[in-house]
Structures are given as C-alpha cells and as structure tokens.
C-alpha cells in the first residue's frame, strides 16, 4: 500500500509540473481533473486500508465527495466559464515557461531542505510524501502569481487546496470527517463565487486580464 501512495504522491507532483508547462486553459482544466483523480485514488487506498484495519468508512465517503466535486463538478464549471470568455490561450505569463518550471524545481528543493529540519515527520517515506504535497501547495501559489488571467488563477487556487488536503491526508492518515467536509464546502462556494466573478469581469472589461482591474471605469 505504501508504495502505491509513494507513486501517487510523485504523480501529483508531476501533474503540477505539467500544469505549469501548459499554456492552454483547456489543458489546465484537464490536468487539474487528473490531479484530483489521483487524490481520490489516494483517499480510496487509505480508506480501504482504514476500513479493513479500523472499520472506519469516513475516508471512503471523502473519496466519493472528491470524485463528485473535484473530478466532475468543478472542471465542468470551469469549462462552462471558459466557453464564455474570449481569451482561449493564456500566453501572458510574467516569466517564460522554462524559468517557471525551474522555479518549481527550486520550490521542491527548498521544501525538502525546510522539512528535513522539522521533527516528527522524518520517518522514511512519510517524509517524502509530505515534501511532495507541501511543494504542491507552494507550486499552486507560484502558478497563481505567474498567471495574469483569472481562470489560471482559479486553477492555481484549486491546486493549493489540493495540496493542503493531500498534506493533511498523508501526514495524519485521514483528518476528522467534519474538517474534510468543511474544507469541501468552503472550496465549492469559493469556486462558484470566483466563476461568477470571472463572468462579471469579462462582461465589464471585455477581457479577463486582471491587470485591467486597475483601470477605473465609470
């Protein structure tokens, strides 16, 4: 079981790099969907494990909720938002792609050195999973600040959320049920509000470039 979780944590990290290297919003959404499916799989593996050993079903419920919200609902919502805006290619990065990817790599190295000094999580592969998922949070943040368009920033926000969830899951083998559910409800409302905001920005400014928000309009 633990080797499957190792592989999944590496694949999560890999998917965030692929996300960073992509230019098109459609492939951002596809990669996000893939990443969420990986998380659902990890939750499923942990859930089956806890069902067998402790008789708990809450992680399996969490897995089902992830599939419903992150794999099906949010990508579909983002696709709908994307269909309604003019800009199909996000070519406005603040840096070019190789430098962005190198930056991500620096983040992973930084996280490794930061966490290797931390007590309590330095036990073998546990440490590696936590390193990978903490770097997922930071890469999500980096993704968010490197994109100029609003949909890219929503995806960055979702990646941060994925990272937080995975860190909690790998570090604690399953958070209390109510905390997980609270996070999902938070996320869902945030994404819906952000989606509506993108509509409104697009309507008002004929573009979803957030730099234009600085302009005053009467």
């Amino acid at each position: 079981m633990s080797s499957y979780l190792d592989i999944l944590s590496v694949l999560l990290l890999l998917s965030s790099f692929v996300l960073m290297a992509n230019k098109r919003i459609k492939s951002h959404i596809r990669t996000f969907r893939f990443q969420s499916a990986m998380i659902a799989l990890a939750a499923g593996i942990l859930g089956v494990n806890s069902l067998i050993h402790e008789g708990r079903v809450d992680l399996l419920v969490v897995c089902a909720v992830i599939i419903a919200i992150k794999v099906i609902y949010i990508p579909r919502l983002l696709h709908r938002v994307y269909a309604n805006v003019e800009y199909k290619v996000e070519k406005d990065f603040f840096l070019n792609i190789p430098i962005l990817i190198l930056g991500c790599c620096m983040i992973v190295v930084f996280t490794y050195f930061a966490l290797s000094k931390t007590d309590g999580i330095n036990t073998g592969t546990e440490n590696m999973r936590v390193v990978n998922s903490v770097s997922l949070i930071l890469i999500g943040l980096f993704f968010m600040i490197s994109r100029k368009k609003a949909i890219g920033q929503i995806v960055g926000f979702l990646v941060i959320e994925n990272g937080i969830f995975v860190t909690a899951m790998f570090a604690t083998q399953g958070m209390p049920f109510i905390v997980d559910m609270g996070m999902f409800v938070d996320l869902l409302s945030a994404v819906m509000i952000l989606g509506i905001m993108v509509f409104k920005i697009n309507e008002k400014f004929d573009s979803i470039d957030i730099n234009k928000l600085k302009n005053l309009r009467g």
Partner: protein
C-alpha cells in the same frame, strides 16, 4: 570466445530489428488513420534498393561528407553494444559505462551535423543548427536520468543497472524509477526525431530537422544514414526496456542457462520492443508537432522531471 559470440548476436539482432521498429510505428499510425499503410518490411525493401544504387556526391564536398555515413553507422552500432539484448552471464563481465554510451552517440551526431554543413546547402545548415539545439537541450536530461538510475544501482554500467533492476521487483512502482521513465519517454521522442519535436514522414522545409541533414545523400550513403538513424532509435528503446522491464528477470525466474537463456531473453526482448514501438506510435498519433521555439519548453520539462527523480532519490533517503 563467448564475448565474440554474444557481441555477434547483439549486432545482428540490433541491425536486423531496427528497420522493423520503423515499420511497426508506421503501420500503427496508418491503422489509426484507417489506412492500410505500407507493409511492415517496407524499410528493408527501401534499404536494399538504395544499397544497389550508385552514390552522387557534390563536387565541393570534402572527405567529411563521404566519411560521415560510415562514422554514423559505426557509432550507432558501437552504442548498441552497451545495451544488452540477450541474457549475459554475469561472470563474463560487461565493459563500458553510460558516459561513454552517451558520448559515442554524440560522436555520430556530431559528424552528421558536420556533413550537413559540408556541402553548404541552405537546408543542411538549417537542419544541423536545429539538431544542435535539440541535442544540447536533451542530452543533460538523458545524463541525469541515467545517473539517477545508476545511483540506485550503485554502478555506471548499463549492464549492472539492468542486473540490479531485475532484483527490484516492478521498477515502475518505484517513485524514482517512474520519474525517470517519464523523462526517458520524452527523451526518446526528441532523440529519435518523432512527432512533437520533428516529423519523420515529411520533407516540409519549415519543420524538418533530421531529414534536412540527410537531404544531400543518395544511394548507399543514404541507406547507411537511414539505417543508423533507425539503429539509434532501437538503441534508445532497448535502453528503456533494459532499465525498466529487464528481460533478465525471466531468466532468473526459470533458472535457465546457456542457449535456452539466450533464446528466451531474446524473445522477451523482441516482444517488449514491439510493445514500446506501439506506445511510441500511439504518443505520436495523439500529439501535434510543436513549434520549434516551443521545444525548449518540452526539453525543460524533460530535464526537470529527471532532476526531480534525482531529488526524490535523496528525499527517500535510499
């Protein structure tokens, strides 16, 4: 004596199987486009036809132009000796490490680029400048991938790595190996001039890289150039197969030895090569050719993925 026999088997298998890989990739591509496609053995017919024809060489070409096909094929065959295709008794030893492997391949490519510049045709210069760019971008990630795998196996010999991997179990379930696998797939696509980087089936001047370099060749020389390109491709596929699905595993499983071991491992190897070529064809069907200036992005991704594997090795602490 045994060494000579093994080397002979190695060379014969590599040279005979190399055009078949091209045939399989073309056939799969044709089938996905609902065409019948050329027969599987088409490349052998082409090579035989070209070998019978005489060579036309430009008046201004120097010895480099004439020597390059022979150097290219010699380097490709020499590189193929580093990646065992059959079971190799451990007592016999196996010389050569991966730095030499990469540099032998680079030698052939270097002469190919020189030969393309030699006749001073515009396409040749364009092709070799592009090839130089792509190879300079891709080679670091190849080396980093090989070093990472070598770090785990504690050896720089591809043969030793293969032997070590045979004991790992399923390498594709190991986090370091899987990153190396992803990097190596991207490297193979770039090194063998497959679709996201270069389109092997067209002679469109905007996009061609490898074809532009061998445009001046004809007859026997062209056959040698094409054969060496397909041997290079098979060498990379063999490298992937050796590291990730070592055919040694089977031998250890059934305790075979001698002739039976060679035969079984060869069979397993050929099946794996066919599967990998189908995988490459599927990747090629599902992607579009990248703009030349987007290739650095792919190369950066390949490098970072291999470097990530390198980091994970230390994070895992093994």
């Amino acid at each position: 004596m045994m060494h000579a026999v093994y080397a002979l088997i190695q060379i014969i298998v590599i040279i005979l199987a190399a055009p078949l890989v091209n045939g399989i990739i073309r056939k799969v591509k044709a089938l996905t486009q609902k065409r019948k496609g050329a027969p599987l053995l088409q490349m052998y017919f082409d090579l035989f036809k070209l070998l019978k024809k005489s060579v036309v060489v430009s008046d201004v070409a120097s010895w480099i132009f004439r020597a390059a096909p022979y150097i290219a094929i010699a380097s490709a065959v020499a590189a193929s000796l580093f990646v065992p295709v059959t079971a190799w008794p451990e007592s016999q030893g196996y010389a050569g490490d991966m730095i030499l492997f990469v540099s032998v391949l680079a030698l052939g490519r270097f002469f190919m680029m020189l030969a393309a510049l030699d006749t001073a045709s515009t396409f040749g210069g364009m092709g070799s400048s592009r090839e130089a760019m792509i190879s300079a971008l891709i080679e670091p990630s190849l080396l980093v991938t090989l070093f990472t795998v070598g770090l785990i196996a504690k050896s720089t010999s591809i043969f030793q790595i293969m032997h070590f991997t045979a004991g790992v179990g399923i390498p594709l379930l190991h986090p370091v190996y899987i990153l190396g696998f992803a990097a190596l797939c991207m490297i193979i696509i770039a090194e063998t001039s497959r679709i996201p980087v270069d389109d092997p089936s067209t002679h469109l001047e905007l996009t061609m890289v490898h074809e532009a370099m061998i445009l001046e060749y004809s007859g026997r020389d062209l056959a040698l150039m094409e054969l060496s390109a397909s041997i290079r491709q098979l060498v990379f596929i063999t490298l992937l197969v050796n590291i990730y699905v070592p055919h040694d595993q089977m031998i250890a499983l059934y305790g075979l030895s001698g002739f039976a071991a060679i035969a079984v491992s060869l069979l397993v190897y050929l099946i794996e090569v066919i599967l990998v070529s189908i995988l490459i064809a599927v990747i090629e069907v599902h992607t579009v050719k990248l703009r030349l200036f987007s290739i650095p992005n792919l190369a950066a991704l390949a490098f970072i993925v291999s470097f990530l594997g390198f980091i994970q090795y230390f994070v895992l602490g093994r």
